[in-house]
Amino acid sequence: MAAPQTTTPRPHTPEEVTATVRQFISRLSGRTAIEDDRPLISDGVLDSVAAVQMVDFVERTFDVEIADEDLELANFDSIRGLAGLVNRRLAAS
């Protein structure tokens, strides 16, 4: 495995982000196995309370800020979408 290219370690690898998000969504929905592409909100796996919880969870856990322009359904409607949003935010910070 290649050595990290940067001297400052990233707080989370993309894989860790996905795993953390998956675990949170699992807890939130009460389901153990949710596919990464499964629509969460538009399919009714999660309700609107959960949607807001996701924003708070992401901001608190990864210390990123979700901006107005991030509030697109696609960014919250699947594990992959949410993990992708976090990774983009982490990369930008």
Partner: protein
């Protein structure tokens, strides 16, 4: 968030003169704008706004103390605190940085009074049924629809309007003025002085930059997070009402002589007082716990706030009923403080989600994911779509 509530504000609210003025407002059927401006100058409306935007950045737990004080004296003014805080929250949390910087100082200082324009005749907690439209034409939003029972809608400078844009839930801050018609709602017991209004947006316009949150995602996120905060503050107000009623009951029981003893010497009376005291104290503690969860941004905060509101509104009902029984006829007169508290307790059971809606949210959270139960949890405010599909999977 740092800093306690402004000391001058707390002093003003604890002064007996405040209670006397609140009584006058209730009699007159209106909290006057001048009184609001005066209290706003002491920081009443900027508690939840950060100091950079001219608020006091008061932590939620300390904000709830102010709500308790205000609600005990004036349930009507308290409703202004609740809706104004919800609008401040929507702007702070979901609006663009430009809108935030432009409007938060106005809201915090009370130069702009804002009403929360969600409820319609046929749509309260179910935002999927909203008929108001917020059409976007170029850089302009055009708003059409009628909102009901808006606290302080009669004198608001702006309205946080919820509706739909191209069939998707959306939200915008719309100024009073052209295209906005304001009518007075019938006087409502419990909120006699809250300046309730029916507001019709008849092609009113606003710049597109006044949108709060994006269409399709704006409604559920904005409404849900506002209602979480609103429920905390209504719960805090209900605690204030319960505490005030309990004080009346205990004072009366301790002094009212009856057949050689005081009421408070009687076991049945002591039982009533004990139950009311426990309900009130439990609610007060739960409200502080909820405030902390909200400050810590715990994922459970939304459900905890629903629980707090349910618990506290019931405590208010219990305590006012106890006071009513102990005070007898004296407490039933229209001008007695208890009458106001009693009516406020009934209002608290309805606003920001009636008891049954809250029970549904709490139970859904409890049952979520358990085999044999319907998978779909009810939305506290906003289903993303009509709930006519089949989502039960277990």
């Amino acid at each position: 968030m740092t800093g306690p509530a402004p000391a001058a504000l707390l002093a003003a609210l604890r002064d007996d003169a405040f209670t006397a003025r609140a009584t006058a407002w209730e009699r007159a059927g209106a909290v006057p704008r001048a009184a609001i401006d005066e209290l706003a100058a002491l920081g009443l409306l900027g508690l939840t706004v950060d100091t950079a935007h001219r608020g006091s950045g008061t932590p939620p737990a300390a904000v709830t103390d102010v709500h308790r004080l205000v609600a005990a004296a004036s349930p009507s003014l308290h409703s202004l605190l609740v809706v104004h805080a919800m609008v401040c929250h929507a702007v702070r949390r979901w609006a663009s940085a430009e809108l935030r910087d432009a409007l938060l100082p106005e809201l915090a200082t009370g130069r702009m009074l804002a009403a929360f324009a969600l409820t319609e005749q046929q749509a309260g907690a179910d935002t999927g049924a909203l008929t108001t439209t917020i059409d976007r034409v170029g850089d302009t939003l055009r708003i059409t629809g009628t909102k009901r029972w808006l606290s302080f809608g009669q004198i608001a400078d702006a309205y946080l309007v919820f509706g739909s844009t191209d069939g998707r839930g959306s939200c915008a801050l719309v100024d009073a003025g052209a295209g906005v018609r304001v009518a007075v709602e019938p006087v409502t017991a419990g909120l006699r002085a809250a300046r309730l209004a029916r507001v019709t947006f008849d092609g009113a316009t606003a710049p597109a930059s006044r949108a709060v949150g994006r269409p399709g995602i704006g409604i559920p996120f904005v409404v849900t997070s506002c209602l979480t905060l609103g429920r905390l503050y209504v719960a805090a107000g209900a605690v204030g009402v319960a505490e005030a009623a309990l004080r009346l009951a205990a004072d009366h029981a301790a002094t009212r002589a009856h057949g050689g003893t005081t009421l408070g010497d009687r076991q049945l009376v002591r039982g009533l007082l004990a139950d009311a005291a426990l309900a009130t104290d439990a609610a007060a503690r739960y409200v502080r716990h909820t405030a902390q969860e909200i400050e810590d941004r715990e994922p459970s905060a939304a459900v905890t706030a629903a629980r707090a509101k349910l618990l506290a509104s019931r405590a208010a009902t219990t305590a006012t009923a106890t006071a009513s029984r102990l005070l007898g006829a004296a407490g039933q007169t229209e001008d007695h403080p208890l009458a106001r508290l009693h009516a406020a307790a009934r209002v608290h059971e309805v606003i920001e989600g009636p008891t049954e809606v809250l029970q549904d949210i709490i139970a859904a959270d409890l049952l979520r994911g358990r085999p044999g139960t319907t998978d779909r949890a009810p939305s506290p405010a906003a289903p993303y779509r009509k709930e006519d599909d089949h989502r039960a999977e277990h």
